[in-house]
């Protein structure tokens, strides 16, 4: 079987205080990771609406990463706890809406964990690469010809 080199598209929703800054540190430290990931900065993981994730998959993301401050370390005290609870429930629903829940990744990366950020991204990229393209929503998009 001939296989083309598949480069997945990964959307990341990260909080401003921990993971975004941790990713900055990865940059400052000149660590290297795959360019497949693109980050959307939000103030807190608590801001992330589950629909964002579905929307990202709909718009062609093959994997989604959510990352914020470690439990108890939230800049806004409890935002990441709300997020965590939300994901526990939401993950169950993902399969229902036709998204393989293993394509959604969560992690806690603090502002001082540049190395961890790189490890997380590398792992997510590898996993999604092995899973292949997320096609279900692309097909739906084609069939129903949804345009902005």
């Amino acid at each position: 079987m001939e296989e083309k080199k598949f480069e997945p598209k990964i959307a990341a929703f990260v909080c401003n205080w921990c993971t975004y800054t941790g990713a900055d540190l990865a940059g400052t430290s000149r660590l290297k990771y795959a360019p497949n990931i693109k980050m959307i900065r939000v103030p807190c993981t608590g801001r992330i609406d589950p629909v964002f994730i579905i929307k990202a998959f709909e718009k062609g993301a093959d994997g989604v990463l959510i990352s914020g401050c470690h439990p108890n370390d939230c800049h806004y005290n409890t935002g990441n706890f709300h997020a965590r609870r939300r994901w526990i429930l939401f993950k169950e629903l993902l399969d229902f809406v036709g998204i393989d829940s293993t394509r959604l990744h969560f992690s806690w990366v603090s502002a001082s964990e540049g190395k961890k950020f790189v490890d997380v991204v590398t792992e997510v990229v590898e996993t999604v690469k092995n899973q292949g393209k997320f096609e279900k929503y692309a097909k739906i998009n084609e069939e129903f010809f949804i345009h902005e």
Partner: protein, 665 residues
């Protein structure tokens, strides 16, 4: 909209891996973008002028700069926009350096990603609204947490500038670790002699409110407007009545039950005690675990001898609330030690050195107490086990520090210096004694520091051996130290009478808890993170909170003192204005859509969501809806995510903006 895109090369930093010209050209074709250029340094004065001129000449109403992290230069470019008459919030940044050029190697891929990241920013800026900062008043008072030398210095600096300070110390006395030291390097100044005048100054200062034996329980609010709850632990003494005569301490029948913490467990103290003679305040505290009264209800010797009726067995913890504008965290460090009960100690390391098992294998602070004139041996160098003068002492550096296996990869910075000092003090007191130092490297950077180590080696004939110790065991009252001299490549065996371990400086055990209370971040060792390692070393990412001393990383006294003064001056900068401007990115309720379910209220960590009644013209309540108090809202957006009708929105990160970003991915 008329959007301008400005791509920065950052010298070579971005330009090497990202083809900035291609990026600028591609971005020029994005819908809405009317002007797109690249420049070597966008943050430079000429770079900013390009933005300013373009705003005016091209009549731009949205700006995207693709350069470094917004944490770096967002403010710079916002100001440039404002200078050119454009609302500073009609600006977005694409992080092409930290999140692209520095982390990727393939130029084609990196350029593609840079274009994507800029497109995301362009789509967002199209949906930005002009905003103006929220203006809030500043409470010109400061809270200093920790009464060691750093906290003392910070408190005095602020108080001497004429502002009030609340100084909170968890121990019964201020002074911290510095009060335990015998002499200080590199001058061999007596530590207490230089510290105690400062302690007294704090106590007598009319602008300083000193709360000892107290801990910060809760912190609410934000820069300029913190509300801090402090727990005053029950001293079991009426502080207003006690005059510090010390009778209770002398007469307390508990003699050998409680270890003396100040003497690093080398001596005992009564159940009612003042930690050390120069303690500030000179008011005792009752150790309820040691006191007979709390176990059996009997004794009350202290009550009998107290002429002022100051003993209060029934006293309970009390709470005080303080309004402050800034917080200085100066909570210091702890030594990597084995406690008096090794089995209860968190640290299990260095069993091979007999640490915690052999009485004469001690740590640096214990040696400080032994060498101190006010210590348990009155300054005579004696072995803790049999009180004889040790003829040979082995000092081992880097115990814990620079040792990944023990969990601390960092250098504790002060040990090279204090070990040289210890060896020197020993040689000054025991002339015929032999001092050996096992070291990995000598790190003596600092004014007069290297000279000090040379003095120990050349004038005081301390024998330095470059190498590690593998094992220490007891034999006939001696401690056999087995090590290696890596310079001569020989095994070394020394029959020492005493061993002093220069153990690592570690973060306070409750460092993480305080960080969580205040909203600071910390590294994996528990040391607090500064906002920027080079340029903002005393600030943390939470505005209005500053760091001083060893709670940020191991450091010596002069460094701690300078950091404390820096933190104090940062506070004073804040107190320089009456009104403070805050980011306007907070939640806002769309009153016509809100159904009043108040999910937002339930998830708000700041109690910022209030109930607002909407009335008809006759004054009848039609509906109750949510209302966000802009003074309290911190802009996390958790309410936005839970709102079923999407009627509460986080300005600056609205659903519309984020969906636009997702669409542009």
């Amino acid at each position: 909209m008329r959007i301008g895109v400005f791509i920065c090369h950052c010298g070579e930093n971005i330009g090497r891996t990202v083809d900035c010209e291609v990026v600028a050209e591609s971005c020029g074709r994005f819908p809405g973008v009317v002007y797109s250029v690249e420049n070597k340094y966008m943050c430079s004065d000429p770079g900013q002028n390009i933005v300013k001129n373009a705003i005016k000449e091209k009549n731009l109403d949205g700006i995207v700069v693709g350069s470094c992290s917004p944490h770096m230069h967002e403010k710079t470019f916002r100001k440039a926009c404002a200078d050119a008459g454009l609302n500073p919030y009609l600006f977005e940044m694409a992080n092409l350096r930290e999140h692209c050029s520095w982390v990727h190697e393939d130029k084609v891929e990196a350029t593609k990603k840079a274009i994507d990241l800029t497109r995301i920013a362009v789509e967002k800026v199209k949906r930005n609204d002009p905003l103006s900062p929220i203006r809030v008043p500043v409470t010109k008072r400061s809270l200093v947490i920790g009464g060691g030398i750093s906290g003392i210095q910070a408190a005095l600096d602020i108080a001497n500038a004429g502002f009030e300070v609340v100084l909170v110390e968890k121990e019964p006395s201020i002074g911290g670790h510095m009060s335990q030291l015998s002499e200080t390097f590199p001058t061999l100044d007596c530590s207490q002699c230089i510290l105690t005048p400062r302690m007294v100054e704090v106590y007598q200062h009319p602008k300083i409110k000193l709360l000892t034996y107290s801990e910060v329980e809760n912190v609410e609010g934000f820069i300029g407007n913190f509300k801090v709850t402090i727990r005053k632990k029950a001293r079991s003494i009426d502080e207003t009545k006690c005059n510090g005569c010390g009778n209770c301490q002398q007469k307390c029948p508990i003699k050998k039950k409680a270890y003396n913490e100040f003497e690093e467990n080398l001596a005992f103290r009564p159940a009612i005690y003042v930690p050390f003679p120069q303690a500030v305040p000179n008011i005792p505290v009752i150790d309820r675990n040691a006191c007979t009264y709390y176990q059996t209800g009997k004794c009350q010797m202290c009550v009998k001898v107290c002429g002022r009726e100051a003993i209060m067995f029934e006293q309970e913890d009390s709470f005080v609330t303080e309004d402050v504008g800034s917080i200085i965290v100066a909570t210091g460090y702890k030594l990597y030690t084995i406690d008096k009960k090794p089995e209860e100690s968190e640290i299990k390391g260095y069993g091979e050195y007999g640490y915690g098992r052999y009485k004469d294998v001690i740590d640096g602070l214990q040696f400080e107490r032994i060498a101190s004139a006010s210590g348990p041996t009155s300054g005579e160098i004696l072995r803790p086990s049999d009180k004889t003068v040790p003829k040979k002492i082995v000092f081992i550096q880097c115990v814990g520090s620079r040792d990944e296996a023990k969990g601390f990869s960092y250098c504790s910075k002060i040990c090279c210096m204090y070990t040289a000092k210890h060896a020197m003090l020993y040689k000054h007191k025991v002339h015929e004694g032999e001092a050996y130092v096992f070291y990995m490297d000598i790190r003596a950077g600092g004014k007069g520091y290297d000279e000090f180590v040379r003095r120990a080696i050349e004038e005081d004939h301390v024998k330095y051996i470059r190498g590690r110790v593998s094992r220490i065991y007891e034999e006939k009252g001696k401690y056999i130290v087995k090590g290696v001299d890596t310079l001569s490549n020989m095994n070394v065996t020394i029959d020492a009478d005493m061993v002093v371990l220069a153990t690592a400086m570690v973060a306070q055990p409750n460092a993480a808890k305080l960080a969580q209370t205040i909203g600071m971040s910390y590294d994996k060792y528990g040391f607090y993170n500064e906002a920027h390692p080079k340029l903002r070393p005393v600030e943390v990412s939470t505005a209005g909170v500053f760091l001083a001393g060893a709670c940020q990383s191991p450091k010596d006294i002069p460094e701690s003192v300078s950091m404390a003064s820096a933190a104090a001056s940062k506070s004073l900068v804040l107190f320089g204005s009456d009104i403070l401007e805050r980011e306007p990115t907070i939640a806002k309720v769309n009153e016509s859509v809100c159904a009043g379910c108040f999910y937002c209220q339930k998830v708000c960590a700041y109690n910022a969501v209030e109930r607002k009644e909407i009335k008809d013209r006759n004054g009848n309540v039609v509906k109750v809806i949510a209302y966000v108090n802009s003074g309290l809202c911190q802009g996390c957006g958790t309410c936005n995510a839970v709102c079923p009708s999407k009627s509460v929105e986080l300005i600056g990160f609205t659903d519309e903006q984020i969906y636009a970003e997702i669409n542009a991915l």
